[in-house]
Structures are given as C-alpha cells and as structure tokens.
Symmetry: C2
C-alpha cells in the first residue's frame, strides 16, 4: 500500500472509470472515439480541488493533462478524443487548489463585512512566490500591491480573480498534496472496422465456375464484385493451407476418405508445408497477395482463419515433435474429448518444455500473413488454447500492427467467452444463432448492449457458419433467412454470412445443425444468381447499415413494448442521438403477425396526440403514426420487418 | 503485472468476492459470522480443477486452505467461520487436478469400449510417484498393479477412484500450474456489539437530582438502572473534559457568556487539562472508572466522545502551537467556515510540520481512555479531518484492541460518509432523521441494506441528537416520537436516542432544528418519570430487538406493497431465515391511516387462501389474516405500528 508519508494528503481518488476487472484489462474503443473518464475525488472540509486526467499514447513519453470538471456528488469528468490507433494509458491525479481556495474564502469574508487585510497579504505573498519569474504576472502583482496599499479590497479581489491572472498562479502553484490514483488504466484503440463491418465467409476451393474443378485465388477474385455489391467489407477465407492426408475425412465426414476427397482445410499441413504455405491447388502466395490487393481495391479486407493445430503430416510434427502431446509409448496423441477422437488432428502442447519456441513460431505465422497484406484473423477455437497464450500473442502483434483485428470463434461457457474478449480479442462470436424467441433475444442482447459488456465485448453475429445451420433456417426457409438477416444486421454493428446463405441453402444432415454435403469435406459449386436468392435484400440491409450511424456503434439498443411475442420491436441510436431507427421484426417465419408497438414519443420530443410519419428504409414506404401505440403487420418473406426512421 | 513464466498456467482466477473497491478496503463482519467467499475460476479445455480458499487470522503465520466447490458457470464457493476478533487475510488459488482428470478420461474411454492399457500405466506411474513415501498408499498401489497385470480395468478404475486412495494422491500431486489470485483481501471481524446495539446519549452534568447542581459521574451511576430497564446497552457521554473559558458560549449559544455559564463540552481544554483529563466538576478519573465498572455490571458499555479540537485554553495550545493554523501575524486561527466563525475552537493542523507528533499524541488519547475501560468511541465530525489520519488511527488502535468500536458522526456528502466507513469506522451516523416520506425512507434504506453497502457501512439510527430535533418531532409530539422510535429500532440493528427523547422533549429554537435551552450550553435537569413519557414503549422495542435475531443483523430488509403512502410495510429476516418479522408503521403522526398490505405468502410457504395468524409483538394482539392482501389500521400514539410475527 501507499506509505504513510504519501497518505498524509487529505485527498482521496477512487472509482476511476471506465475500467474492467479493477484495471486488469484494457477497455476498447475505435479511433476518433471520445473517451469519457470519470472519478470520485474527495477532500474532507471545504478546500477547492484541481483534478486532472492524465493520458498518453504508447508512442508518447510525457503525460497529457486535461482538467476534469466536477459534476456533483464528488464526481469528476473529462473527455479525450482518441485520435491514434494503439494503446493509451490513463489515470487521474488531484491536488488542493490553494489559490482558488484562498480567494473563495476572502470573497466570502469580504461579502460578510469582515476585514481581509491579513488574508490579502497572504494571498499576494503566495501569488508572488509562484509567479515571480513570469513577466506576464508582474503588472497584475503590482495592481494587487497598489490595491492593498489603498485598502481597496474590491479592486484587489477583482484583480486576483481575473481570467488573465488566475491561470498564471494556478498553473504554477505547488501541488504539495498531489495524490495519484493508484493504478494506470488502459484503452486499446482499434481500426473503425473492429466495431463496424459486414463479413462474407467462403471456401476458396468452391469458387471455380468450371464444374468439378478445384477453385483458386483467381476464382475468388472473380467473386469480389458480387460480394462487394452485396455490401460486405470483410471477406473471410476458410484455411488456405496444404491439407493433411493421414486419417483424412471423406464427404459428409465419412471414414475412410476416397482418393479424390479434398479433406477438411482445418487439418492443416502436408508435404507442401504448413501454416505459412498455401495449398498448391489454390495457387501461389503471389496469387493470394493479388487477391488481397484486388479486394482492398474494392474496399474489402481479406480475413484468414488461424487454426492452431496440425494434421499428422504437418512439417512441425517431424521438426518439433516436442510441441505435441505424447503417449507413454512415445507416440503423438491426436485430439480427443472422451469419448470423441480426432485422429486427423494433433493439438499443440502449449505447455511443452520448449513452449517459448512454439509460441514464437505461432506468432511468426501471424506476422507472415500480415506481411502478405492480411489485417484480419478469425481465430479457430481459442478456448481450447491457454488464455495466457492469446493475451501474449495479441499484445505482441498489436504492438507492431495497431490495426490488426482478431475475431474469437469461441462457442463455450459465457465467462470463458467474456474472458477471451477481455484478454485481447477484438471481436467475438456469440450465441446469436441459438437465440430464437423474443424473451431470449431481448435478454441476451440487452446484456451484450450494456455499458459494462460493451467496454470489452464486440459481438459478431454470423447468421450461419459451415458448422451451424440452425433448425429455424432448415425449416423456415427463405422467410427465416430474411428474418434472421435483419436481426443480425441490426442487433450489432458486426454481422456476417457464410456463403450459400444468400441462396437460401438449408439442407442439413438430418437431426443435426451440419450442412448436408458440407463444404468442410468437399467442393461445392453454385449458381450465385440462382432463383429465389436474397442478394438484393442483403444489399439493402448493408446499404441501410452504411447510411445510418446508429447501426455502426455498440450498445444503444433498447427493446420496446409490443403486444405480440411473435414480434420484436427495438430502437438503436447513435452516440450523439442524431441517428435513430426503430426496427420491428416478425420472428415467426411461418405466419403473418400483427400487433401494437409502443413508440417513446415523449423521449423523441413528439406530440402524444399529433400524427408523425415513419419511413421504412427497407421498402421506402411511409406510414402515418400517432401517439404511443401504433399498429404493425408483418408478413414472412414479403415484409418480414420494418426498419423505420421518424421523418422530421 | 505477472511475468510471462507465471502466465503460462492455463488457469484464470478472477472476481474474488466479497471485496470493496478492488480490495483497497477490508470488508466487515462480526465474530462467529460465516464468511462466504466466491470466485470465478476457469481453464480452457476440459481439465478438472482444484480451487482453494486461503485464509489466515492476523495472529497466524500459515494459511488455512479450504476446498472451494463449483456452483455452476465457472463460479466457486467456500464458507469459513470467523471465530476470532481482528483481521483475516484471504485469497484464492487453483491448480489442475491432474489425477482426477486422468481418471475421469479413463472412465469415459473405458465406458465407450476403448482400451485403456496405456492410460492405466500412466495413471499408476503418476500415483506411485507422488505417494511412494506414504505407507497408507502402498496396498492401494499394489492392488492397482495387480489389476493392470490381470487386464482387469473395472477393478483398476474402482480402486483408483476409491475414497481411501484418491485423497492421498490429490493431496500430494504437484501443483505445477498453481495460480494465485493476484490480491490478498481482508475482512475485519468486530465485536457483536459493532453490529447490534442500542445507544443512550446523555450529558453527565445534567444528571444531578439536586436542582441547580452540576451533575457528576456518581449521578450518572444512579441513572444506570433506569437506562438498563429501557434496554440500552451503550451509554454515550458527551465530552467529559475540562471546558474552555475563552469565547465561551452562553445559554442558547449567546455571546458573551455570563460567569455562571458552563460552556459547550466540545470546547475542550482549560487549566485543568485537555483530552486526557476529566472536568473536575464531574469528579475524578477514578469516579469515571467506577462508572464504567458499574455500567459493565449491567451489561452497558460506556462510549466516549472523541472531539479532536481545542479550546484556546487547551494545554496543547501553549505546549504545541505548531499543531494549529496560523495567521500571517503569527496568531492562531480559530475554526471558520466563511462566513461562520468559531472563536472558541482551534482546529488541529493535521498537516503541521510535526504532524507525526500530533497524530501520535491523538492516538495516545484513545489509548488513555481504553486503559480506563472504554471500548466505544463516538467520533465528532471526522469528515473535517484527513481521511488518512482516520485510516491510520483506527488500524493502529484496532491492531492492539480488536473489540474497540468507532462510530463516525459525519453528516456530509454521501460518498464522503461511505469513504469514512470504508477507511475503518465501525459504525456510521446516517441521514435517517431527515427521511420522513415513504419514498425517501424506502429508497435510502433499500440502498443501506444492499449487499454492496452492508459490506462496509453499518448505519446507526439516532432518533435525535443534541444538534437535531427535526420538524416532525417538534410538531408531531408524542405520536411522532413513538413512530420514529419504531422506525429507528427496526430499520437497522443499531439505533439510539439522546436523553429527553423518552420524555418527548420537543421545544426547539424557532425556525431551527436546535433544542430550546440546549444542553450544549447549559445544565438541564428532568423528572425522568415525568407523565407522558414513552419509556415503556422504548423498553418494549428493545425487548423485541433482543428476542428476534432478524433485528440484530444488517441487510435483509425489503419494503412490501401497501396501498397508502402514509403507511410503510417492510419485512426483516435473519441470515438463516428462521427469524422473520413484518413491520407496519403509520408514518403520519397526525392521522389514523388504513390500507391493504401485501404479504409474500408464496415465499413464506403459506396457503394463498387459507387463514393464518399474525401476532403483534408490541401489544400481544393476534389477527387472523388470509392470502396476500390484508387490512391494517394504525392510530398515532395509541397503535402507531405493528411488529408482526406469523404464528406457526
């Protein structure tokens, strides 16, 4: 604890916020966000205080100091615009504003008719002592002395409190009882895309237009315009590395594979290389770099999959057998979760005797792809690797590359998911796909939108993934696909689809959430303009997201009353409150549903009885509404949702 | 932060609770309370964990370790009975339970028909390595080896998981990935009276039965039986020290005082001594010790007033002028809060150059009175002295005298009051006297009863003080006095009255909350059995408090529905839920009020339709109630409240 010398200060600084877990983890913001820092600062008695926010970017040596302003009940606040990517440190300090306190007391004494001659001497002595080297102060000090000689205390007080003189003394007076908040807190400032982006996931090998042919990076380039027209700005590729042969899985996860099976791209590594190589069937590293370049030209960032595991054929297995787990007989253990076994996958032993070499090698994998132009990584199953590894890796990488984004693909226990986000993951998968009823959507997204959670957790809402085709999509078809897309695109600034969603692909392996003929185990080719697709609908959603800043920020989500549990009605608004939308969704894809929604007319500054117009951004249609309760009727597929703005 | 070597452990310990302000302050408990500690403990993957609560009393060198039990969603819990007064440290540690994990996996493999020969070898090697020095383990290890030879895996698993053998391995297996929670937390264990007691405040000089005579400690002894019969167990004396003459205040705070005025006892110090002396008019130090002894015989503890300030005549002023504030001309500054002036009081300068001497001298004052038998101190205006001083003083004193109680008499801003409590004050005055309406009583006491606040703040509810005679008492008379007594005695386990309350004294200086002819400035003599007194009513309240443990603990207060804002209806219950009362109060002292209260019959396990009997502990009367809504009618003075228990 503090030593007694230090504790003599009568000032107590506490509850500095924002802060996660007592400052153990940094909070998160995007570049050009304003950080609002609050603190409780108290001193017994009646002295006036100066309170400062101290903040510095990791590139800076010296603290910047900003005055904090009192906002009642011993709370103090300051705001700071985060203009640089990377990490800022911040803390709070306070000291007695001796000059202002003296002055305030003298003003009170004088007003109550007391003689302030003695106090005036003290004030002038104090001011002189701390400003004597300042030429600017001299004329003021002279005026003060003259006023004292003339016993003209009115003039003396006026001069002493003048806006020209006061700051000179306040800036120079000693901070004899300076107290610092015991801790330095941190905020990580990310690229704007960390908070707001729309993802499109595909298997590169499925992108050839020639029937039966293995797709290449060049084929993916041909898809870019289509993806861009749908409004996506991150293109996430499933693993692009050479694929293992040993225990390779066949179509629909069958064993053994036949000779023409392409295998799961998550079984990484074969004779052609491992995590730093590309599958020769996809092309060359230069082809990949060309894809990154072509994507960037269209405003699309390429995201790679970081799956830190090996096929038995990975070069690491021979070069670094110590990095894996071993049986008593010396053989390498494949992945297992009793009674399940995964003989095509060797997990790393992150606690191996030479773990430092392993960790450094994995960090070099990330650096390798960053050098190839990649700035976004989707991390496969981070919850099966040590927390400490991720904290170390992400810090190390982001220290050099502030704009890199790590998306945590962890579907596990709630606190583990939150902890991964706190440790450094920029974005996180969520339970969205399994939240279908009104009460569970409300409960979950109210939690994710809370001030506490948005400090560290940025929810990425994928409608589907190669592993997840939920019953509502399997059974609800196109109406369900549209409905879930609206929810994903409007409940969080981060959403994504796995390719095929736009084609309403919904054939599952019976009784599972797995796709029938899953691309995980075979090449799949599509007519990307097949009839019945919802590409236009998706484009509209992404356009609405691009045009309304309330859909581009975390939090600011409130569920409003509606008298039918098949309907959801919620509002999103921007930090400044200027952008605001009201979203109504029929979450039952099988039936038309109607009901009365409740508009917060008071809060909106609308009349409680006069009519107002709302416009549906999905269709352009206008409705004249009046007062709080208004009728809506939503028809699956045809009109699955309203995204409404109130017209001024 | 932790170094990287340490961070290799896959285990993450966080959110250890109870804890105040990230562990900056200790939480509070009373002796023999059970401390329930919770933590979040996680390890990615599927390994089983061992989690321990480590706890030790300040008198102990070694930690005690208790197993924590998982209670879902990565939460862990342990309970520890605090049998000693003083401070305990506690923290949490965790490590992988390697043996249990191996065993669990083998059981799963075996159940799914896999061969576990290799795993069995590993298990036996592991168990042998860590128990080979333990004679108890030998026969078990032999059985395991035999089962392995016989390929009898059923027997092997049974033996390996036997309750005789498992603990031997678990206790000895290495904690290779042990992780400690980064912080040591503290709990201060106080005397039971810190949580539950009833205070009676008096001016010793007013206790003479001879008209016009200055009361003495012997006169106070004569009052003890009366005070004890009313059920009070702490007798708080206003300052007993010599009183200053300079600028002494006369009757009703008039200036100048006349020669026969006795002065305010808070203007401490004259030629007869200061904070370590007794006013000769009250008797000798031995007389005081005799009073303490006589009080203790009746189960009453004597509380002294700690008012750390001096009259201009205090010996400190001559001996240690440096301990005070000075004007530019060298004269000592009296207390002032512009435009108010207190020329009879010199405040200490706690930041004086020789502040260490001052602080030590003030600590010696406390030690002096502890040596005279005092264990309870009511601290005057602690919020006008530095936080650091109180934290230092209380820690220093309680280190030697665990059972000493400090009551903070701070009426100031909410966060300052809370901070004083966090810094170490055992009990705290509250805003109770100024909470009169239903909504403000509900809001304030819901906050004070919350889990967060009861960790550090123990509210002392005085109905009145020598400074506070509120309008409701001035105007409401005897009905108001009874009503406010019920509230004070049942809203917190700590309550008190300032003498005269039992006599319904309610003459104020017009337009103020000050008493007319206040005892602060003159001797006041009463007929302690004057007609119209409410002594019997107060005795009954204190008897009910003594007989019902739900009124002896902090928290466990809930306001229930009642359809009349003039009525309050609330319930209190004990930690174990066995003791439970329902309290209805008519907070309007001028009118009879009736209404329907809502009983939580479901929660009570009562039928929603069948009748049940409630008994009023104030009158002994019984009422037959039925279901949730029940009618009450409360008449000021006659029946101001119900204190109801549900009869089984």
């Amino acid at each position: 604890m503090e030593n007694r010398e230090k504790r003599r200060s009568g000032i107590f600084v506490s509850s500095v916020s924002p802060r996660i877990d007592c400052g153990r983890f940094p909070v998160k913001r995007a570049v050009n966000d304003v950080l609002r820092v609050t603190a409780d600062v108290m001193k017994p008695g009646h002295d006036l205080l100066s309170v400062s926010l101290k903040i510095k970017h990791e590139s800076e040596k010296e603290w910047n100091e900003l005055d904090m302003e009192p906002d009642g009940n011993d709370g103090w606040t300051a705001e700071f615009k985060l203009t640089q990517l990377g990490t800022y440190d911040y803390t709070v300090c306070a000291w007695t504003d001796t000059y202002a306190t003296l002055l305030r007391n003298m003003q009170k004494w004088h007003a109550s008719g007391e003689d302030i001659h003695q106090d005036s001497i003290q004030l002038i002595e104090f001011a002189t002592e701390w400003t004597r080297d300042d030429a600017q102060a001299l004329p003021h000090l002279e005026k003060l002395a003259n006023a004292l000689s003339a016993h003209d205390f009115e003039t003396l007080l006026e001069e002493a409190s003048s806006p020209e003189f006061t700051p000179l003394v306040r800036a120079r007076q000693p901070r004899t009882d300076l107290v610092e908040y015991g801790k330095t807190l941190q905020v990580v400032v990310d690229d704007r895309r960390a908070v707001f982006s729309s993802w499109y996931e595909l298997f590169p090998r499925s992108q050839s237009t020639q029937k039966g042919k293995h797709g290449t990076f060049r084929d993916v380039v041909s898809r870019l315009d289509d993806i861009s027209r749908m409004g996506f700005d991150v293109l996430y590729l499933t693993p692009i590395h050479p694929i293992g042969v040993t225990a390779r899985r066949g179509k629909n996860n069958s064993l053994p594979a036949s000779s023409d099976d392409v295998g799961s791209p998550w079984a990484i590594g074969n004779e052609y290389g491992g995590h730093k190589s590309v599958d020769p069937n996809l092309g060359t590293l230069d082809d990949f770099k060309n894809l990154v370049h072509e994507a960037e030209r269209r405003g699309i960032r390429v995201a790679l999959d970081l799956a830190f595991q090996c096929s038995p054929d990975h070069p690491y297995v021979k070069e670094h057998p110590s990095w894996f787990f071993h049986r008593p007989d010396g053989s390498i253990r494949y992945a297992e979760n009793p009674p399940k076994k995964y003989p095509d996958i060797y997990p790393f032993n992150f606690d191996a005797p030479d773990w430092k070499d392993l960790w450094n090698e994995l960090a070099s994998v990330v650096e390798f792809w960053i050098a190839a132009g990649v700035k976004v990584f989707r991390v496969d199953n981070p919850h099966t690797k040590p927390f400490a590894f991720w904290e170390w890796l992400i810090k190390k990488v982001k220290k050099r590359h502030h704009d890199v984004i790590f998306l945590s693909e962890a579907f596990t226990r709630p606190k583990v998911m939150y902890t991964l986000a706190k440790l450094g993951f920029t974005q996180s998968y969520t339970y969205f796909t399994w939240k279908n009823y009104d009460y569970e959507i409300k409960e979950y997204f109210t939690e994710l939108s809370s001030a506490e959670v948005t400090e560290f957790f940025r929810p990425m809402l994928f409608t589907n993934t190669p592993d997840i085709l939920t019953p509502v999509l399997q059974n609800g078809g196109r109406p369900a696909f549209k409905m879930r897309a609206v929810l994903a695109a409007t409940l969080s600034p981060l959403w994504g689809i796995y390719s095929g969603y736009e084609l309403v692909e919904n054939q599952a392996k019976p009784g599972t959430e797995e796709y029938m003929d899953s691309e995980k185990y075979q090449i799949k080719q599509r007519d990307w303009d097949a009839p019945g697709n919802i590409k236009q609908f998706i484009s509209t959603l992404n356009r609405i997201r691009a045009e309304n800043s309330c859909l581009q920020t975390l939090g600011h989500l409130k569920f409003l009353e509606v008298d039918n549990p098949n309907l959801l009605f919620y509002t999103r608004w921007s930090d400044d409150g200027v952008s605001r939308l009201f979203i109504a969704v029929n979450i039952n894809p099988y039936e038309r549903h109607s009901g009365f929604v409740e508009m917060p007319v008071k809060e909106m500054g609308l009349s409680e009885s006069a009519p107002y117009t709302v416009r549906d951004l999905l269709t352009g249609e206008r409705y004249v509404w009046r007062g709080v309760k208004n009728f809506i009727s939503l028809t699956p597929d045809l009109r699955p949702a309203h995204i409404l703005e109130v017209e001024k």
